[in-house]
Subunit: 213 residues, 2 copies
C-alpha cells in the first residue's frame, strides 16, 4: 500500500492531490509543522535523507522529490491518465510545463523572495535580476493560461499538479499578488472547483485558507 | 532533424552530451556568451520565450527546460537506453536522482551562491540556512557516490547527465571545491573518461577548461 507522508502547508499537497485525481487507494499521514518554528517536525525529517517534503513509502521504497514521486505513481497506477503521451499533439507543451514548475518557476520565485527579503536589497543589482526572472516566469504562465484552459492544453495533466502549489500555497508564503493576471485567476478558480483538489486539501490541510485568487 | 541550440558554458551542455551518448544525428548550433556581460546573446534569447538555455528545435517544436528536453529526446530516440524502466531494480533511485538535480541540488546551490555573494551576508540567518541546505544536497550526492558507481546504480543514466553540469561547469561559477569529497572526485574522473562526454564538451565548449576535480 502506498503511503503519502504529507507535511502541512508544503509541496506534498501535490501528491495527495494526485492520488485523489487518480482515485487510487493510499494511506495518508499528516505531519503538522512545528507551531513555533514552522519547520518540519523531527518525525518528518527522519523519513528521508533530504528531510524535505514530499515523501512516499511503498513497501521497501522510500522516495522523495515531487517530480520523482509523480513519475513513480503515474508509472505504477496512472494507466495513461493525466499525461500527454509521446507523439500526441501537445506533447512538447506538456513536457515543458511539467518540468518548468520546479525547474524554473519555483527556484526563480524562491531566489526572488530571498533577495527581496534582505534589508536594503532593493539597492542591489542581484535583486533586480532575480525579480526580473521571477516576474518573467510568472508572466509566461499568465500568457500560457490565456492560450489554453490548462497548462498542457485543453486537458488537465500533472503539469497542473506540479504548478498549482507554486501559484497558491507557496504564493501565500512569498506574498506575491496576481490581481494583474486575469488568466491565472480564471485558472485557479477552475482548479478550486475540482472535487479531487477539494478532497486533497480538506484531508491534508483542513485548517489552511486556500489562496486561489 | 533535431537541432540543439547550445549557449556556451551553460546547462545546454547536457543536451549535446545526451545526443552524443545516444549517437543520434543532430545539428549543433553554438552561441557564445557576450564577452562583456557573460549573458546569452540576443539570438539565443529569441529562440524561446524563457530566453534560457537549453533550447532544441525539431520541426515545428521549440522546446526549453533541461528535464523536458531530455524526456522528449529519450521518448523519440532513446529506445530504452540511459534510463531505468518502471518495475526494474533501482527504478526509484533513478527517479530520485533524475529529479533531485534541478529540483533541489541546483536551486539550493543557486540560493546559497546568491545569499553568500551579498556583502555582510555572513551575519544573516538566511545565509546559514541556505548554506546548510546546499551543503546537505552536496553531501547526499557524495554519500550516494560511495554506494554506487553512478547515481542510479551500476549503470550510467540520464540522472548523471542532469547532475554532472551542476558538479562541474556550474561549480566553476560558484567556486565550491570538492577536495573533501573523494567519491565525487572518483565519479567526475569516470565521467571525464567517457568518449561521448569528451566529444560533447569539445564540440560545445572547445575553449572551456573542464572542472572535474
Amino acid at each position: 500500500m502506498l503511503t503519502v507522508h504529507h507535511l502541512g502547508v508544503s509541496q506534498s499537497e501535490r501528491i495527495v492531490w494526485l492520488c485523489e485525481e487518480l482515485g487510487i487507494p493510499y494511506d495518508l499521514k499528516v505531519y503538522p509543522r512545528d507551531s513555533e518554528t514552522r519547520l518540519a517536525p523531527a518525525a518528518y525529517k527522519a523519513l528521508h535523507p533530504t528531510g524535505m517534503a514530499p515523501v512516499i513509502t511503498d513497501g521497501d521504497v522510500v522516495l522523495a522529490e515531487s517530480g520523482a514521486i509523480i513519475e513513480y505513481i503515474l508509472a505504477l497506477h496512472g494507466k495513461g491518465r493525466l499525461v500527454v503521451a509521446p507523439g500526441k499533439p501537445g506533447y512538447a507543451d506538456y513536457l515543458f510545463w511539467l518540468h518548468f514548475a520546479n525547474g524554473t518557476l519555483m527556484p526563480s520565485e524562491m531566489s526572488n523572495w530571498i533577495t527581496g527579503s534582505i534589508p536594503g536589497s532593493d539597492q542591489m543589482w542581484l535583486t533586480s535580476i532575480m525579480k526580473g526572472r521571477a516576474d518573467q516566469a510568472y508572466g509566461l504562465v499568465e500568457k500560457r493560461l490565456g492560450e489554453a484552459t490548462y497548462l498542457a492544453g485543453e486537458e488537465f495533466t500533472v503539469a497542473d499538479i506540479m504548478t498549482v502549489f507554486i501559484l497558491s500555497t507557496f504564493r501565500a508564503f512569498t506574498g506575491r499578488t496576481i490581481g494583474e493576471f486575469p488568466n491565472m485567476r480564471r485558472y485557479l478558480a477552475l482548479i478550486g472547483s475540482r472535487p479531487a483538489y477539494q478532497r486533497a486539501m480538506a484531508k491534508g490541510d483542513p485548517g489552511m485558507a486556500l489562496l486561489l485568487d
